[in-house]
Symmetry: C2
Subunit: 359 residues, 2 copies
Amino acid sequence: MVNVAVVGPGLVGQALIQQLLAHEVPGLALPLVGVINSRRMLTHSAPSGHLQPLASPGQWAKQLADAEAADLKAFVTRLAATPGPSVIVDCTSSLAIAELYPAWLAQGLHVVTPNKKGFSSQYELYAAIRAQTGPRRPLVYHESTVGAGLPVLNTLYDLVRTGDEIVRIEGVFSGTLSYLFNTFSSAGGNDAQAFSAIVAGAKALGYTEPDPRDDLNGLDVARKVVILARVAGLALSLEDLDVENIVPAALRTVATADEFMAQLPASDDHFTELNREAAAAGTVLRYVGTVDPRGRSSVKLVRYPFDHPFAGLKGSDNIIAFTTKRFASPLIIQGAGAGAAVTAFGIFADLIKVAERTA
Amino acid sequence: MVNVAVVGPGLVGQALIQQLLAHEVPGLALPLVGVINSRRMLTHSAPSGHLQPLASPGQWAKQLADAEAADLKAFVTRLAATPGPSVIVDCTSSLAIAELYPAWLAQGLHVVTPNKKGFSSQYELYAAIRAQTGPRRPLVYHESTVGAGLPVLNTLYDLVRTGDEIVRIEGVFSGTLSYLFNTFSSAGGNDAQAFSAIVAGAKALGYTEPDPRDDLNGLDVARKVVILARVAGLALSLEDLDVENIVPAALRTVATADEFMAQLPASDDHFTELNREAAAAGTVLRYVGTVDPRGRSSVKLVRYPFDHPFAGLKGSDNIIAFTTKRFASPLIIQGAGAGAAVTAFGIFADLIKVAERTA
């Protein structure tokens, strides 16, 4: 049994709660004991003050809207005072929340999260989180911070903890950039569409951030590379990475997303030329993050031969290749690396691991 | 801490012991307390009779050769009587050994194994093993029974335990058959070699069983499909599968492997014709196992379009695709699915999970 409290029930948190309530895990109880957003918090306390499972968990959203004012510190104190193991699921993308993990862990709470900030911001925060965890100490699981529910980090943790040597980690870690380049540059002949038209189409479908420059600048991919590098044992931070910002230089200071989109077609020739050169060399373009333990880790546009697994990528799938001493032919994991249901799946699987390890 | 005892230290068991001794897992102790093969057994007991870590574990092979006569029952009794959690690693491929798991588990021992027999033979044995395990009861991990160290079963367990719906599991699960068909039938144009020549080459390189019919009959793949199906919740056994034995009918009763190899060229036209038809349809041939929860599960030659991930498979890699309700675009795992080092890695990672859950 492990008590579950959710911070920041947005799309992912809602999907998680839905999965938790819809499915009972044989032999393990994962009662939902609290939900908090930036305005309200919902808990259900016994006279002792200890938290109880929410009385009507299926009604949590409705009840939260009418619940008491949010006080994260009080919420965490109630959870920590409740007997039995408890886990906080941070479904925000907030650095300020991630900065609280060391204190939460020090209070004996476990942490499961898809929030990248705690693992990819200043190294001191990462080290402080690690210092509070260990085989017998509170647990931290964050599978969904890279590739959503794809078994990327659990696999990397297994490789590292069994003493395998990481030679290289390479992958397409952004569903958005996967979609853009899979559409723009494919082994089956390049699409007639201009790059700006593909970006506009993706934006219309909701595949990009509101300002697509937040995808094209590579920062989201860079955070994932930092997480992978740190799990692989490298004391690396964002500033140590070579990140290729593919937003054309002239468009980086344009004020609004709309103006950016309006001016992007002026750069189409640039992208078309890159693509033409790649195709002439029998390759496609992919926007790839690489962890290189012996050299510079990077985020950049890379060419791959038509028969490379990255060249065959479809839709908005992520793909990651681990080359290690034992896996000389890379261990590859591929599939949907974004979306509420698969992200929630990764969190749910992490929660089961916490429940098993505290059973 | 968990005491580790290895049964059947062949190539995989030796690789495992080498990995265990070469690498200390931070915060977790995995002392090697016993090794047994069919002739000898090596343990090191305190005056109390309790097992101690082997005195010079690096010398285990030499010491085993001079150790006492093997008595598996006594070996297990000593292990079960030793305080603290203990795990037996069955590195044999013996059904008779696998039939002992329920009794071992009933004695409180954990089991980690790459031996497929306990999970793919009569359903009653599988059910008896499952009946002895659970969140708080002794643990069974068998990641390396399918795809060696590739994170196949842990991923499937996560999908199932979080309530995802398995729509289809499909994969190339034999390194040998992967190699044969990747060489014979590729998107880049088919090799000029006859099928029999490719089999002969693979045999010479040690890629096949001593009698290649033990690969071509599909039984090894069928066992893996049964394991996947059972983990997915289906009460399926070998006899429920449609298995395509690609050994030509006339060659199934030929007495020796040499005679089989001598007569195989007479079937080359048959395979060449299959391959030609596949290529004409823009496809390649792959020998694939499929779990279909709503229909018949099977093991057979299947055609895949040139741009399908299975068509791009190289060398002797395994590949597996999980299609689920949440992962509508399949979750794919690919890489070396055979070999002592990667099989041992899968076992080692399982041992760490046991150690963490009993910490």
